[in-house]
Symmetry: C2
Subunit: 118 residues, 2 copies
């Protein structure tokens, strides 16, 4: 099964989501996937082919940092948000807010156009 949102919707905010989860504490890929699933009320079901390339991109951009760790039992690749990542999270959040406000103002007339009459 794939994602409940279209791939296009996700595209704008996947980085934001992942960074925000990692801002709440370090974790590894598979667990991140589960956390997103839970935090989104089962709506964001990230595929492995989406998740891992994304993490690699974020790491290449120095927004996150990784380390192989076996102390917790199984060998897993733990990710941690960097200072640059936190900064990006902040600017991305601000852009997200502007974006939502923008769309909402465009949808306003539609919404008030009585979908169900008084």
């Amino acid at each position: 099964m794939s994602n409940r949102f279209g791939p296009d919707l996700l595209r704008g905010s996947l980085d934001l989501m992942v960074l925000s989860v990692l801002a709440g504490g370090s974790t590894y890929g598979y667990d991140l996937q589960q956390k997103l699933l839970a935090a989104s009320n089962e709506l964001v079901q990230l595929q492995a082919g989406t998740l891992y390339p994304l993490l690699h991109r974020l790491e290449a951009d120095k927004l996150i940092r990784s380390r192989w760790e076996a102390s917790t039992g199984r060998k897993r690749k733990w990710y941690e948000i960097t200072a640059a990542g936190k900064q990006r999270l902040s600017t991305q959040t601000a852009e997200w807010d502007r974006y939502v406000a923008c769309i909402e103002s465009m949808l306003a007339p539609i919404r008030s156009a009585a979908p169900h009459p008084v």
Copy 2:
């Protein structure tokens, strides 16, 4: 100059925006571009290479309908939303709402994490 939002953010909601504008009345491409610019407070500056292919896609999907019209002076291609388009607008709006709620719930802990202390 390009769009003020990244291409990825736009991707999820461009259809929604265009349909919502057209739901407010028929118009032609160039004017739609200006309307979006104005309605978004200059934030959504759609390029021609984005706008026209998008309109053609929406028309191919029967969500909008076009007609060359010269009665208003210059020859322009007028677009009108169809019944299917209105229906799509409605479902897309609902999905948008779920999407925003989802992201907002993920951002909530970040926002409450004292960006500026009490």
